[in-house]
């Protein structure tokens, strides 16, 4: 397909950051804190470290063949039919990530911002915006993410700076004294969401103009993403305390409500909404793009754009029926999602790597 489409290393880093933060930036703290309590920021840290390790593994896969995305690689390594079958399962997983994120965003908006608006309309609106982006191609998506990233970064920085005076160290004490098991348990759902999801970005690595930069960009991106996630969780705990963090569905948004400077700069939780809008928008757009590319690879199509519209319909339908309510979503994330994402984020890459290395040895000898 469009092999001349290229993004640069910096843009890839930004995409990785956006994908890491995604919806985790706003829902993550509550999920982790329900296990890790006071130490849950360490859980995030642990999850980020594992995330970096996972990314290192993905980079090894990338090294197997620098000119193929994961779908092509699957066919190459596992043979045409098995490869296509696994590709299909993988596409299903990617599809699920798209609708999950879309639904999460829709749920957030109709819970906090536009309460009377129907979910279907909200989802449709977001998806159409994403569809426009996807049809313009990954180059445009990544360039746009470059445009908006400074605002995301500034907004995160402002959020942290503005609630800093409300932070109380006592709220995260005792550090590392109790509940070590809970702390480790808290890291588990977070590895699946969002770090295993980064496997999807592996497909974009071949579009980076310099392969060496792609590797570095991937690691830098996941590190920054993990760091930001940790800082946000830490701030939630320091300002809101464990209890409030666990009780709220979107603790980061509540954190925004805490901003108050001289009784003048207040009521600006919309800053949080903006951060999250941008991160999740770009996450949905990139994953949607990979999804379309994946489907078109399986069907051997000429252009990925052919399938974007039909896929969009499917996304809307399944996003609407995805979960009966928000509670189900968070139960799913801490339940089925863990083995599901591990299958594609951990088992699949290991299989690919083993098969790939074996084949490489064979051809060498």
């Amino acid at each position: 397909m469009n092999s001349e489409v290229k993004i640069n290393g910096r843009q890839f880093t930004i995409l990785v950051i956006m994908n890491t933060l995604g919806s985790a930036i706003i829902m993550g703290p509550a999920i982790v804190a329900s296990y890790g309590r006071e130490n849950s920021w360490i859980s995030v840290l642990i999850a980020s470290m594992i995330g970096i390790l996972v990314v290192l593994m993905y980079i090894q896969i990338f090294k197997l063949d620098r000119n193929k995305d994961i779908f092509q690689l699957l066919e190459k390594l596992l043979g045409k039919w098995l490869g296509k079958f696994i590709s299909f399962l993988f596409v299903l997983y990617v599809f699920y990530v798209v609708i999950g994120n879309l639904r999460a965003m829709g749920d957030f908006i109709i819970t906090h911002i536009l309460v009377e608006t129907p979910l279907e309309v909200m989802i449709l609106l977001i998806l159409i915006t994403c569809l426009i982006g996807v049809r313009m191609g990954i180059e445009v998506i990544s360039r746009t993410s470059e445009v908006f990233f400074p605002y995301v970064a500034i907004a995160i920085f402002l959020l942290i700076a503005m609630v800093f005076k409300e932070a109380e160290v006592t709220k995260i004490q005792p550090i590392l004294q109790t509940n070590i098991g809970g702390m480790l348990a808290g890291a588990v759902p977070l590895i699946g969401y969002p770090f295993f999801e980064l496997i999807i970005l592996l497909s974009l690595m071949k579009d980076v103009n310099k392969p060496e930069k792609a590797k570095k960009a991937f690691i830098i991106g996941v590190t920054i993403g993990g760091f930001l996630l940790t800082s946000i969780t830490l701030m939630c705990l320091l300002v809101l305390g464990v209890d409030l963090t666990v009780r709220n569905t979107y603790p980061t948004y509540v954190l925004g409500k805490k901003i108050s400077i001289a009784d003048f700069v207040e009521r600006v939780e919309v800053i949080v909404a903006i951060i999250w809008f941008f991160t999740i928008f770009f996450k949905i757009m990139t994953i949607f793009y990979v999804l379309s590319v994946g489907v078109s690879r399986i069907l051997n199509l000429k252009s990925y754009k052919t399938v974007t519209v039909p896929i969009a319909y499917f996304i809307i339908v399944f996003a609407v029926v995805l979960a009966p309510n928000v509670v189900y979503t968070s139960q799913f994330i801490t339940g089925t999602w863990i083995p599901l994402s591990a299958t594609f984020g951990l088992v699949l890459p290991i299989i690919l790597l083993v098969v790939g290395l074996l084949k490489e040895n064979k051809t060498r000898s």
């Binding site: 329900s34 399938v307 519209v309 039909p310 399944f318 995805l322 863990i338």
Partner: protein, 82 residues
């Protein structure tokens, strides 16, 4: 009923514009995939609007992963404090 009409209308409109573009690709497969895909997708949305049951993807994953999920959740839940 209005919803169904709207969906069909919009699908028709998008389909028309899209089809023109796909025609330029000069690939029979692309055309077929597009036509079949859009038809199925539109049918599905109409079904959704009319209130037919549409299988939930999460439920599917849930059933498939049940044997692995249960022990994980049991372990995690021991640490979940409420």
């Amino acid at each position: 009923m209005l919803n169904v009409t709207a969906i069909l209308l919009v699908t028709g409109l998008i389909g028309r514009f899209e089809y023109k573009k796909i025609k330029k690709l000069d690939s029979k497969k692309d055309k077929w995939v597009f036509v079949v895909g859009t038809t199925v997708a539109a049918t599905l949305s109409v079904a959704l609007v009319l209130g037919y049951y549409i299988p939930n993807l999460s439920k599917g994953f849930e059933i498939v992963y049940q044997p692995i999920t249960d022990p994980i959740v049991t372990i995690l839940d021991t640490y979940k404090s409420k």
